[in-house]
Symmetry: C2
Subunit: 445 residues, 2 copies
């Protein structure tokens, strides 16, 4: 009866469900899930049973299915069953049998959960499973999130037996003669987990007999520690991360002073495709000059004066790039644009390179927009008083189709100011009245 | 040379010391500490060497001492040595040989450090030592603090080899023919540690060959995670803990709403003698009525209306207990005082029990003080117009010495208002003008 009390108390403590909710129990027929079903019955909770026949062990699979059918009958609850061609699925999806069984199982269970109006799916993971998971994570290398182990509640899945050990489940099964199908529960258990269960933990037990309970107790503390960790982390993120359009801006000085730097930086940048191997490169940007960048799987992280900018890669070429006043550097796939301001004095020499554009700052209004040219675009080529279609201009310049596809234009308030690397617009040219210039530089890659 | 680079880079990264500081190296003669000495030499750092002869292995101990003497000579640095009667010390202090060796070693090293003007003591702990420590902590049961392992810098001790594995130290010793004394480094290594080193970790390595490096990497992340944990924790403490004199006050409602409750409560109450086994009882106070209390090793934690009060046990009887307006309940060793206010109407019946005192609220000024009576104390016994010494009063009451020692008096503004459980002061009695009463109740244990 101690197990039943512990079970009821654990469901309350973790607020797994309310007594008016119906739970769908995943029952393989193994001792863990069979005892779980009995506990739900004894506690007077509302539940139905689901059983997957993976058809991987011939006769034995059929025996298990029959056992669970009889169990549902005995407990007087509804039974959902399914037969999977697990081997076929594994084959055609090129996954292992274990992965196949897991995917089939959770996909089907979630469907049944919804159809049957159940609030949650309950699985029979117990304390040993949890301890194994955490030890495996630790040995693989992990952060604090790898220490919370199997969560009691996660989405629509609950694990109401995490509080107890295998031995107690076996003792209950014996005391109440629940019966169970030997070995049937381990279809989704991996080699590595079995290795930890049978080779690693028993050795630890030689010196710390209570190692499972000790680690399980630690896991509970780690879970709470993680909440405090998250709380502090969110505070740092809020302090450091600013969104402007599709650009994320992070102030360099503030990030430099942040402690612990690695962890906070990692938690920020990993959301933008940064791998752990790339993190040191990103942190180097804190000490580099404007224009340096790191390309992650999905973003570019760019040092731009006192900012780190995070920009989605796909946005850069597909859509328009909005350039705020603060930016001095805009990388795209086939080149990069540099932007700065300068005084215009009588001594100023205007460079003749078509890759450098000097414009009258007074005529420019932020934000600027950098985008690929489009059919219908027109501008006033330098030296001309009337507008010209870009398509026409490109013909004059004898651009090939691939060349045309690479052309970027810079806009200010819907007016093209520069065909990057080619010609500026006459309306923005330096005049005798110009005192301040916007200097643009295009570097093709 | 990779080891040397890694060593220099690690000392910088962890800011272990500055190049103008002198370091005292603890060198046993084993491969770890011998390589450490060579690395300090190669890096051009300032250092001296200290060697302890524990005289536990006869000839071998002498051989090690001779080896280290030669090493200091070869490296051209000063050597400090000492001989310990470790066995005698262990015997007379009733500690194990390992504990004896450790106590003697660190005590002596710290003395030499100060005498020699060294900034830090360096020990040769490496990555495996660290991984073993964390695994042992985990198996014993721990919180997040048990996962940071051996710290690179802690007080006056630094561990500049934590970044590297034993194999690399051995390879360096071989490559540069440093020589070393076999086995001599393990005098302070415990049975449990050796068990993890030789029995547990090798099994884990069968399935995760890089387990040591993986766990070491995780430890670095846990260390940073702990910083964030501490940051959030300090914020909660500041929000929840208020000190008034020698009393700590925690608002019940605020604590009830705090998440994660267990961890935050534990981190607060453990500083006041609360054991982990007592924590559930303390948390029950959140749902109990005024007057319930938990006695920890050093404090009483008392539920008093909307507060939990934490009061040092020794203070209660030794010194004075300052009672603020908020308090309704004051427990002491031999009894407890309850305090409440009440209206005084014509219908009010004044209880006759000497354990209840009804006083004129208007005459009372907070804070009140509860203390043991002292020689020289006097008061105006109810019904008398002149003062009387307490010593005289006790003679009239025929109190024995032990009885007198238990007497508490309550003061308001240096005036005694009540000899608890015996007689009130006439100046505070209920008069025809009294509209509000202070009702005191004394319960002797």
């Amino acid at each position: 009866m101690d197990l039943l009390k512990g079970f009821i108390s654990y469901t309350k403590q973790e607020q797994l469900f309310t007594t008016d909710q119906q739970i769908l129990l995943a029952v393989s027929g193994g001792v863990d899930s069979v005892v779980m079903a009995h506990l739900f019955k004894e506690a007077g909770f509302r539940f139905t049973i689901a059983h997957c026949n993976f058809q991987l062990r011939g006769e034995e699979s059929e025996r298990d299915a029959a056992f669970v059918t009889a169990l549902a009958d005995k407990l007087g609850v509804m039974l959902h069953t399914v037969r999977f061609d697990t081997a076929v699925y594994a084959d055609s999806n090129r996954v292992s049998i274990q992965v196949a069984a897991r995917e089939l199982r959770y996909g089907w269970l979630e469907n049944i959960r919804r159809q049957s109006g159940s609030a949650f799916i309950a699985t029979a993971h117990h304390m040993q499973d949890n301890v194994e998971t955490v030890l495996m994570n630790l040995c693989k290398g992990t952060g604090i999130a790898g220490l919370h182990g199997i969560l009691p509640k996660q989405g629509h899945i609950i694990r109401p037996l995490l509080f107890t050990q295998k031995e107690q489940l076996l003792a209950y099964a014996t005391e109440y003669s629940t019966g169970f199908a030997e070995d049937s529960s381990n279809i989704t258990v991996k080699y590595t987990r079995n290795f930890f269960r049978h080779k690693v933990i028993p050795v630890m037990q030689e010196i710390y007999p209570a190692v499972t309970a000790n680690i399980a107790g630690s896991i509970d503390r780690f879970r709470e520690a993680e909440e405090l960790y998250e709380e502090a982390l969110q505070r740092h993120k809020k302090r450091l991360v600013e969104q402007k359009g599709n650009t994320i801006m992070i102030p360099v000085l503030k990030l430099q002073k942040t402690r612990p730097l690695h962890t906070v930086a990692w938690e920020i940048f990993k959301d933008y495709g940064c791998s752990s191997a790339q993190l040191p490169q990103v942190l180097e940007l804190l000490n580099s000059g404007s224009g340096k960048l790191v390309e992650t799987a999905s973003h570019r992280i760019i040092r731009d004066r006192q900012w780190l900018l995070i920009i989605p890669v796909e946005v850069q070429d597909a859509a328009v790039i909005v350039i705020e006043k603060e930016r001095t550097f805009v990388p795209v796939t086939n080149g990069q644009l540099k932007i700065r301001e300068a005084e215009r004095t009588p001594a100023t020499v205007i460079p003749t390179s078509s890759n450098i554009a000097c414009l009258d700052k007074q005529e420019i209004h932020y934000p600027l927009v950098l985008r690929k040219w489009r059919q219908g675009d027109y501008f006033y080529p330098l030296g001309m008083r009337k507008k010209k279609k870009l398509s026409r201009f490109f013909i004059d310049q004898k651009l090939s189709l691939p060349q045309k596809e690479k052309v970027w234009v810079l806009e200010s308030g819907k007016r093209i100011v520069w065909i990057a690397g080619m010609r500026i617009d006459d309306r923005f040219r330096i005049t005798d009245n110009t005192t301040r210039m916007l200097v643009l530089e295009w570097e093709e890659k």
